[in-house]
């Protein structure tokens, strides 16, 4: 999951970035409105966490510009300006969720996960697809038989992206883009390695290879 964190307070941004990465997000950080808007325009983010009081360009203007360009990336506004009139304005501009500061990191993560499921048409408290259930808190996967398996960080990221897009062919490039942050040294072979590992854990048939196209998440085999 690629996540753009827009926050001008370096201390908070640093600690938040660490926490979000721990939760399996590939986080890019922007510390001003202009950079944020540019990154949002060129990178295929899955979610944006947007502060409103930004240097150079106000957060609401950034959001309004994205929406004006037809960019529908899910946006959570995270701000100290949490009066109701500000929330109303935020939602009217096109935000998908709104969280007032100060906040608990778990709440932010829970909201991001809920927003992810929503934007992939998967309502419900847990991410489940193809008979698998993903415990995002513990980064474990529950097999149809009830068995719990631990996942490494990258395995978790990759499986989550597969599970959010079941039945869709995902190219290696796309997987790389959504699993690793911007300045990660991308080597598409890595994806092959991790797909193989997932197959080992979940069963051979759960991820099919479409030659020349990419991978397809189907379902876990008993």
């Amino acid at each position: 999951m690629r996540l753009l964190l827009v926050e001008d307070d370096h201390l908070l941004a640093g600690s938040l970035q660490k926490e979000l990465e721990r939760q399996g997000f590939a986080v890019d950080l922007a510390v001003n409105g202009v950079d944020a808007q540019y990154l949002g325009e060129v990178e295929p983010y899955d979610v944006v966490v947007l502060d409103l009081g930004l240097p150079q360009r106000p957060g609401l203007e950034v959001l309004s510009n994205w929406r004006g360009q037809g960019n529908r990336v899910p946006v959570i506004i995270l701000t100290a300006r949490d009066a109701w009139h500000e929330r109303v304005d935020g939602f009217k501009t096109g935000a998908d969720d709104y969280l007032g500061k100060p906040f608990h990191a778990e709440e932010l993560v829970a909201r991001i996960q809920a927003l992810m499921r929503r934007s992939h048409d998967m309502p419900g408290p847990l991410l489940g697809a193809g008979g698998l259930e993903l415990d995002e808190e513990r980064q474990q996967v529950r097999l149809p038989g009830g068995e719990l398996l631990d996942l490494t960080g990258t395995e978790f990221r990759l499986l989550r992206y597969f599970m959010l897009n079941p039945g869709r062919i995902l190219s290696k490039t796309r997987l790389t883009e959504h699993v690793y942050e911007q300045d990660f040294d991308r080597d598409s072979n890595l994806i092959e390695v991790y797909v193989r590992r997932l197959r080992d854990k979940l069963g051979k048939g759960c991820i099919e290879t479409r030659r020349g196209q990419g991978y397809l998440f189907v379902a876990a085999k008993e």
């Binding site: 009066a83 709104y98 100060p102």
Partner: protein, 445 residues
């Protein structure tokens, strides 16, 4: 006595009455003196001709009739004379008939003027003089009736009084008209102030009479200052909130980041950080309230409420709530936009938190604005309801979870001089919060 019009009228009445009274007295006095002097001089002439017609040489004085005017012959004609000789005999005009005049003899050269009541009630002016003719001392009194003159004078007095009264009344009427007309020019100012109160304008028009222009200008100056100050303090508070929230946020992150079984001290610190957050939130929100009276934008429920409901639906999306909002026809804009959004936002947010699936909000208006928010949650027990309704109880200390939002809502209602009641929703079964807000600025309009 605070009406300028009354004051002006009273001043005018007093000065006019004094002036008219003075004129009336002086005029009467002069007319009276003038007529009496005139009659006296006529009597003097009569006296001279009588003296000429008198032959006092004999024992009984004689008059040469043909030299005496006819008026002295007709009985009670109003013109009389009486002559006293030093030997005690007297001669009176025929007109006196059987009456006499109260005259005592005078030394030659003496002269007296007096007023007496004569025959048939006539008011007489009597002129008496002492003479010496052909060696004999005699006293001659001539009298004339003043009644006809007095009647004329009374008529003049009455006419003058009537005229003065009419003049007074018409002057008052003219003045009233003028004053009214001048004050009517103040009407636009009053209208402006009403519109200001309703938030339809932010300044008074300066197209006013010169006399009150400085007042209006000063008023506008203060208005500008006030809204500037409100803007500035709102901004300052916003910045302060921003500045305070970031470190607090870090603190929260830090405390959250530790393993949860780190023992009581950390739990305590976490609880305190949460308390600081709540206190700060409430105080900052309270300080940001604009209150009734002047403000930039009014809250128009018909257009704003749907947006607010939209925001709430997004916030509580996971809950799949059915939020029903109705604004009755004829509810015009009221209150400050930010304040009202905060009030309704907090009430509805609270309802959404506790609702099972339904939230309803009805905004209506008659003599006051009424906002009712109901939910179908578990509501409150009778005891809790009673505790919340009790005066002076701090909301955030009473019912767990219904804390901050309702406390802020209560602050807003209080600031607007309204009332907030808690009850059980008869239709949905959960909590019902009913807010009454007075219309307009402060009871007017």
């Amino acid at each position: 006595m605070n009406s300028l019009e009354r004051r002006l009228q009273l001043g005018l009445v007093i000065s006019l009455v004094v002036l008219m009274g003075l004129l009336w007295t002086v005029g009467n006095q002069s007319v009276r003196e003038l007529t009496e002097d005139f009659i006296a001089s006529r009597l003097e002439h009569d006296m001279e001709s009588l003296l000429g017609a008198l032959n006092p040489a004999e024992d009984r004085p004689r008059m040469r009739r043909h030299r005496v005017s006819q008026v002295y012959s007709q009985p009670f004609s109003g013109h009389y004379f009486l002559i006293l000789l030093d030997n005690g005999s007297q001669l009176s005009s025929r007109s006196l008939w059987d009456q006499s005049l109260p005259v005592s003899p005078l030394q030659p050269g003496e002269r007296r003027r007096m007023r007496v009541t004569g025959p048939v009630g006539q008011q007489l002016l009597v002129l008496i003089k002492g003479f010496r003719k052909q060696g004999r001392g005699l006293t001659l009194a001539v009298a004339e009736d003043l009644t006809p003159l007095q009647e004329r004078r009374n008529r003049f007095k009455r006419d003058f009084a009537l005229l003065a009264l009419a003049g007074l009344l018409s002057l008052l009427a003219v003045q009233r008209l003028l004053v009214r007309r001048s004050f009517r020019r103040l009407e636009p100012v009053r209208e402006d102030i009403r519109r200001l109160e309703q938030g339809e304008t932010i300044r008074l028009s300066e197209q006013v009479p010169t006399e009150i222009l400085p007042l209006v200008q000063e008023f506008n100056h203060l208005l500008g200052l006030l809204s500037q100050r409100l803007e500035r303090s709102r901004n300052a508070l916003g910045n302060l909130a921003h500045a305070l929230k970031s470190p607090l946020n870090l603190l929260t992150q830090y405390l959250d980041g530790q393993s949860s079984d780190a023992g009581p001290p950390r739990q305590q610190a976490r609880a305190q950080a949460e308390r600081i957050r709540q206190l700060m939130e409430r105080e900052l929100k309270r300080a940001r309230l604009a209150g009734k009276g002047l403000s930039g934008q009014r809250f128009d429920p018909a257009s704003e409420l749907p947006d607010l409901i939209g925001a709430l639906q997004q916030v509580h999306r996971e809950r799949n709530l059915d939020i029903d909002a109705q604004v009755e026809a004829g509810v015009s804009a009221f209150g400050d936009r930010e304040d009202m959004l905060e009030l309704l936002g907090n009430l509805l947010d609270n309802a959404c938190k506790w609702a099972a699936s339904n939230v309803r909000c009805i905004v209506s208006a008659n003599s006051e604005i009424q906002v009712r928010v109901e939910d179908d949650g578990s509501g409150l027990s009778d005891q809790e309801l009673e505790r919340m309704t009790r005066r002076g109880t701090r909301l955030d200390e009473t019912v767990e979870g219904h804390g901050l939002g309702l406390a802020i809502a209560k602050d807003i209602v209080k600031l607007y001089g309204g009332e907030m009641q808690f009850g059980r929703s008869s239709q949905l079964g959960g909590l019902e919060v009913c807010v009454h807000l007075p219309r307009g600025g402060g009871g007017t309009g």
